[in-house]
Symmetry: D2
Subunit: 383 residues, 4 copies
């Protein structure tokens, strides 16, 4: 059951790590550490095997996957000896990468979308793929400007037909994915499929989508600590988070406007988990020297019995791409299964993977895991 | 529905904090922060109100509760202005404290136990209590020496009748509690009711018991982080914990033999949660200057995707007595409800509160909370 | 030898803590912890005794010192039992506080300054003070707009005479101090005496001044760690600092424009100590819940032998006013001694106390301490 | 000026890193980061160049240096690409390694020492070395049992002549070094040259020695923080340190008896710097998974003004061998210079490098650096 995984941002470090890792696991070179789909409850669900995943994607970057993987190995994101044995896989995936549709290339957005649809259709046909999942792992966009055309599919189509550029890039990809019969996953905080018009399109086409913003590090920890404080009736007074990171993400998120969607997504877990407003913010600071190695420090001031003031702090030193990549593979495998099972519209049951789960206010990791397990079993139980 | 709470170690800092706090909450002087029983799902269960709790207990210490509370206020464990308004409650409780049954007071253990039973019976009668819960909050004992008399109630009774001292002190209290028709809760890692002979006695008398070792700080955090790593398929390579604490606990746990049961209990959560052995240990270091303010530092080394090595650290700066006291009140209220509902034998459903839950290997806090909620609702649903 | 200490911001928490502390130490109620002037090498220099310090100052705030001290005791900044015994001292100081010269009160700046000079002169005469030191402990100002009148005293005086408001408030205080024959210390990052025209005035009048920005916490630690890395030839790649604080300072520094002078001052130590540019920034985040209890987290990425990458992190949890207050007393005592000894102009030898020492690029704490010791001994050696 | 560096423990990770690094720096493959001798004030002293250092040594381990270096590169202690270019240097050094003199090889200690002397003499002659420095980088020994023969050289020689084994291994090496006309440096906390009899021998032969216990990580930080607290009159109440480490050192130091000398050496800095006893201890915990990557956490509770309690914490995540190796090279270069300059007996001026500096109670890093600089300039100034 060959399954296409079409990555938007296919030559970025998350995509490169995911493609390299899938090849290495499939070849038996390494264990599937970090892959949720390889945990006991999910192993017998008949998900697409790592070796059955066929990667392609869009990217405007021209540095090839092999070179990118070598750079990542240099930086310690990939183990030194892992790139050479999967070179052929990387080269094959690299040939399936198309330039994509950045803003401002002269075409109307409708034309650009048509080209994307053609790329996806061509990918499915050439490689004889049972289904294709489009996963957005490109750079975070600034918050989108609302537009009346986002409210309904008919208005959106009219706007596009009129030659207007009404969709942020991530949403143009989601639109194209749905028009091409693909599932869509947004691993970033960008808008993606989260517009009424696109939800309408997904349901009309009977296609599933999931998002947003992969929950990989600091927020992951928050999503187990916040319920801990809640279930123990401890009152959180202030929760402050600082994230140091470099690489492309560090540079992108150094811009406060762009960072806004990320930060908003990172803080949501707190308010919604604790049920009351909490002092303190999340900050993202660009430290180029740290590269892909993100360090987060969280300081939590809370009240215990009789109002006695206590403190918890944590630091998380993780490699961002290595945290994201296995989740990208998990999401592709789950979304492919949902597509095959005929699920349509948003998949709130995949909230386990996201900082800002679509159509869900549950942020507790444990509850999300229970939901995921039930959903997957239910999916497998169907004919 | 007046409910007796008999505290073994009734003049210790946990007991003093619990008694002061219950009086202060009942008088409306402070919010019930840290009290799980005051969370939404438990509020409508008809648990004994804080004002219905009548405190008594055993202690060999002679410093009265008022003086002890003033010392705790000095150390910041209790808010400065809270002791004076509840002075009458503290004095009343103080008069209900009996010297108890330490080892080596000349009597046979059977005689000592008879005196304990008389104290408990007298307590219930004098104060017209619907039920009494005995809670052990005394110092941690060293690990117990196994004895054949522990295996069955008949053998235990024969050994006691023969004048032998076969039970560790905590178990003598459990035995007395059961003989006096009380529920028993062990908040310490000591043996308490966890001997086959005592379980037999509890069941014979139709009495419930819970334990062991209140999960208040570092282990509480572990019990949400370990499931986080597991559900994300991240491989924990080493987990090392250091606890700095002073006070009586610091001094007691500076003795490696005594600390052994505590440490064993603190580490159990890891092996049983992760399902594989993990490098690293838990250490407890006595720092008298820190008093009741425990600081724990945990260092967790884990592998992510493709074996990339990452690290998480946390520090927890909490006031031990203020963390323990509300749980003592919660446990007394829950155990009283179980007693009233006719529950008999161990209460694994209260595992949420313990480092080493009796008859349960579930350590995940979220799962434990779900279990607790169901149990409590079921209890309330009964006629 | 009665010595006047005139505090600009005399009812703020630093001033209140300093006045309360001086009274308490003088009365033998507490040890002079945190007072550098009480260390062995400075004890025999004949500095003004704590009991000889007479406090007065300017403040627009109307909450009296007693009330302010009680609030600080409530927040744990002052020990609970210390305010009552020194109530008389606080009341006496409170009566010596004048409203001061905020911007925009209708008068010309020249008139406002004349009033300040009158306050200072009156203070000296009424209390029969051998010398007076003005210490600025008011809120941080935003960076000053350059003005040609700052370049020389004659131009400054001409501008003032013309009715212009050319000086930032902190500099108006410095000007008044010099015109009234007082020494001036700037404990904040504001401009204070650091304008050529004011330096000229100080020298003309034969008066000393010191500043800027008390080195109390995070930067203090930096000033020993940076030389450590340097003397071990370890290459710092990135140094990132995050400061969480509440209170008035938290609110003031939440404004990026105002914070700019503070942050600039905090970072200076790094570049000047290490001798090469370092990635990373200092950030100040307002967390009102933390009040005066500042928590700083610094993350330092450095290269060791053969470029191996290593990390150091520290957290500093200090009470800002309690860190600043003893230094304010130290500076008043040292500046008074300098004034008495006839020192004129900037006192770079007091750089030990400052983040941004005037006329000095030495930031290493140990070197600064050596300089301070020599300077003080030299001062004492003079007739 | 070819200089011999004879490493006791020549195939351990510190030695391997030092030899590899010296070759790499000499070949211009990497910068001399971490080498104090390459700082400005020492560059013009005419120290032996890296390329002039000729390495040899003793070790019972048989794994060759190339293989060892490859293992270290695998573990990230050495950069991946650095081993291959210096393979010839490693092979050459490897051929100069002799089996050494472990305890219990049948010979008398006198015979064993004679063999060591022969090795050293042979090394000097074969390689035409101007001087030889013996540096002990072998495993830490347990504390030594006192023996009357340690008190004077005549008694020591008599005991050896009588066939007794009176010296710990590290001291046997020191004895042999002095008999062979070499300088001796003890980078470990073992006894080494620190016995009256050996000091006598060194002075009799006109040879210098230095030690003990390289100050590489946690203690290095302590040696700048302790003076910071002192010079600011802040009162340290408790200082607790926890060190997690794996590798050979982790295993050796897991034995409390052996660790005793290390821990004693690590704590000395505090008492001697602060001048008063401080609560808290240093602990070393073996975590094999961490390998050479040591993580230390220190928790410091201190009092500020008016007794307000504050806290500082730091974590240090360093690669032990990469921290030690450049100091080994520095010490060899400085000791060679001292030998050449005719210095005899202990070198307290090298205290900058040691946790437990011989004949010095100065632990402040900054003061030690000043002393080192003066000493080195003085050395260079001599004809």
């Amino acid at each position: 059951m060959r399954t296409g995984v079409w990555l938007v941002g296919a030559r970025g470090s998350v995509a490169t790590t995911a493609i390299t890792g899938a090849a290495a696991i499939s070849a038996g070179l390494t264990a599937p550490t970090g892959c949720v789909t390889e945990l006991e409850p999910f192993r017998r669900l008949g998900l697409a095997a790592f070796g059955e995943l066929v990667f392609g994607g869009h990217d405007v970057v021209e540095t090839g996957l092999v070179k990118r993987a070598e750079q990542l190995a240099q930086a310690g994101v990939l183990p030194a000896g892992l790139v050479e044995p999967v070179r052929a896989d990387l080269l094959a995936a690299d040939e399936r990468i198309r330039p994509g549709a950045g803003p401002g290339d002269g075409r109307t957005q409708a034309d650009a979308i048509r080209a994307l649809v053609a790329d996806l259709t061509d990918f499915r046909r050439r490689h004889d793929l049972a289904q294709v999942v489009v996963v957005n792992v490109s750079s975070t966009e600034p918050p989108v400007t609302p537009d009346p055309a986002h409210a309904a599919l008919s208005e959106l189509d009219a706007a596009l037909a009129a030659g207007r550029t009404v969709l942020p890039t991530s949403s143009a990809y989601a639109y194209a994915a749905f028009r091409a019969g693909c599932a869509f996953v947004d691993f970033t905080p960008s808008t993606g499929a989260r517009l009424p018009a696109l939800d309408e399109l997904a349901r009309a086409e009977g296609l599933p989508y999931a998002g947003s913003d992969g929950k990989t590090g600091e927020t992951l920890v928050k999503s187990v600590l916040a319920p801990m404080f809640t279930s123990r009736a401890l009152r959180v007074r202030a929760w402050s988070g600082t994230n140091l990171l470099g690489g492309g993400d560090g540079a992108t998120l150094a811009d406060p406007v762009t960072a806004a969607s990320k930060i908003d997504s990172k803080q949501r877990v707190l308010g919604e988990s604790l049920g009351y407003p909490v002092d303190g913010d999340v900050h993202i600071h660009n430290v180029q020297e740290l590269g892909d190695w993100k360090t987060a420090w969280d300081h939590i001031a809370f009240d215990g019995f009789l109002g006695v003031r206590m403190t918890m702090q944590f630091t998380w030193q993780g490699c961002d791409s290595a945290l994201a990549a296995p989740l990208v593979l998990d999401l592709a495998r789950f979304a492919a299964a949902a597509l095959r099972a005929g699920r349509s519209g948003s998949l709130p049951e995949l909230g386990f993977f996201f900082k800002d789960p679509v159509d869900s206010t549950e942020h507790g990791l444990s509850e999300q895991f229970t939901t995921l397990r039930r959903w997957a079993q239910d999916l497998a139980a169907r004919p």
